[in-house]
Amino acid sequence: MSALAFVELEEGLAKKSSLEAVSYASSVENDVTAIVFGAMNDGEADKIGAAGAGKVLHVSDDQLAQPNIMAYASAISEAMEKEGSTLLVLAKSSLGDPVSARVAIKTNASLATNVVDLPDTSDGFKVKCSIYTGKAFAINTLKGDKKILGLKKNAVAVKEDGGSASVEDFAPAKNDTDFKVKVTNREKATGEILLPEADLVVSGGRGLKGPENWGMIEDLAKTIGAATGCSKPVSDMDWRPHHEHVGQTGVKVSPSLYIAVGISGAIQHLAGVNSSKYILVINKDPEAPFFKAADYGVVGDAFEVVPKLTEAIKAQQG
């Protein structure tokens, strides 16, 4: 039995969440192949190999270099067929989600998303999935002979002790239907740490009083290498772009540390952060509901606490 892992590239580099998918696949099956689209930096195939893949199928077709949901779904289905893969593993993302649902229909596979742990194969094939926006889990049996798993971030750790992966060029069949959607432009923040991928997140809320006060959030984030986020009111008021909105109807994050500054902790915001490993809340209101969901708390004025915290971290970094 073999597994296929879809690896997304970000500026030529394999995304960490995709490497988690490779490692997950290699914990389930011995024989793991990764599929990669577009230009890949030197050394990335080694990383994918170390994460657990024995082979990388590399699609170098120019027409497929930029993400294309329908064409990628066709190519991945073809790769599963060619490799005899009974399992496809990928990371949840704006690309992975729609691709996996289409592949499920094309290949008649059972699909589970938001998977948080390795499968239990003692009786059938069961996986634990995060539901109700992180407030509960469902144990799901995948009934099909073929299975597709969309992983939530941090479902498994990335392995670094796998072998080396051979790279094989793969030229999937193309059809016109898959190119009906024209992507006319792509706007992407560059050089920033992407929020859904981030291991550390610093978020600001209405307590910061205005967009002009975001400097201290950015300073703290930069000092620890974190992504920046915000609460819904902040993005609704256009203080920050929508892709930074963390919460029930925004980005769901699962970093090792989530720092919330001046955010009261409405239940809809908590829904976006409740799978964080640790939560630090800085708020001047000791009654802020967020403290109940926090591991660490500082009751104090953000305008004093945040710059001092940044300095304290810098001092310890030497």
Binding site: V99, T113, K143, E187, H243, T249, A315
Partner: protein
């Protein structure tokens, strides 16, 4: 323009989530059910498109009779008629097949729904419907403009957005800020009572994923408060206890 808007019937976002029957059933006690918030955005945009271009809106729900008040609310907001596929929405594949069948028969120009349901958060159904019908599907859509037979779309991606153009018909999973939620007015609520709500039986009973049982996350311990005058202690804790810095 004929628009199909698919809605879910889900617990209010402030609901306390718990389970009964040995953790195999969702506990509905005291829970208020609403139109899925993302579906509500899809419906609001459909109403705006209808106001601008004319046409009709059909709202579709796969659910048992208990979902009818939620469907009536969608009619009050501005849908013209409704279809309820009389079945429990067991898994994404089953729901997608039901939607694809209704959509195929109705020859809609646009099939809109939320980016995901807020109960199972799968986000699979729109893409499955697209694939089943041989149509493009786009999600999560933040801007949807239609001119003639062409749509211009902005889709959110990690750290930014993607601009797309495509021909109708297609499937879209919607999210804010595609439109402002609409609150039904008295006239809408009155007229919703007499709008047609057709109940149809499901096609097939194939499912692909079976939910065995539910689990709650482990309870969170108490917060450790640190004096704002002693932030070195906080840095120490983050570094050495939590090991996250």
């Amino acid at each position: 323009m004929k628009i199909l808007v698919c809605i879910t019937h889900v617990p209010d976002t402030t609901s306390k989530i718990s389970f009964t029957d040995n953790n195999t059933k969702f506990d509905k006690t005291g829970v208020q059910f609403i139109i899925g918030p993302y579906d509500d955005y899809a419906l609001a945009r459909a109403v705006e498109l209808k106001e601008a271009n004319g046409g009709s809106i059909t709202v579709l729900n796969v659910g048992e009779a208990e979902t009818e008040p939620t469907i009536r609310k969608a009619l009050a907001i501005g849908a013209d008629d409704a279809v309820r596929v009389n079945a429990f929405p067991t898994d994404a594949y089953f729901v997608a097949r039901q939607i694809a069948k209704v959509a195929q028969e109705g020859e809609y120009d646009l099939i809109l729904m939320g980016r995901e349901s807020i109960d199972f958060n799968g986000g699979q159904v729109h893409s499955m419907v697209g694939e089943l019908m041989g149509l493009p599907s786009v999600s999560p859509v933040m801007v949807l403009d239609v001119e003639g037979n062409t749509a211009k779309i902005q889709r959110e991606i990690e750290g930014g957005k993607e601009f797309m153009e495509l021909e109708l018909p297609f499937v879209a999973g919607c999210q804010e800020p595609i439109a402002e939620w609409k609150i039904p007015n008295m006239r809408g609520i009155m007229s919703a009572r007499s709008k047609p709500l057709n109940v149809v039986e499901p096609t097939g009973d194939d499912t692909s994923v079976k939910t065995e049982n539910f689990e709650m996350p482990p309870a969170k311990g108490d917060v450790k408060l640190i004096d704002p005058e002693n932030l070195d202690e906080l840095v120490n804790l983050l570094k050495n206890d939590a090991k996250v810095l």
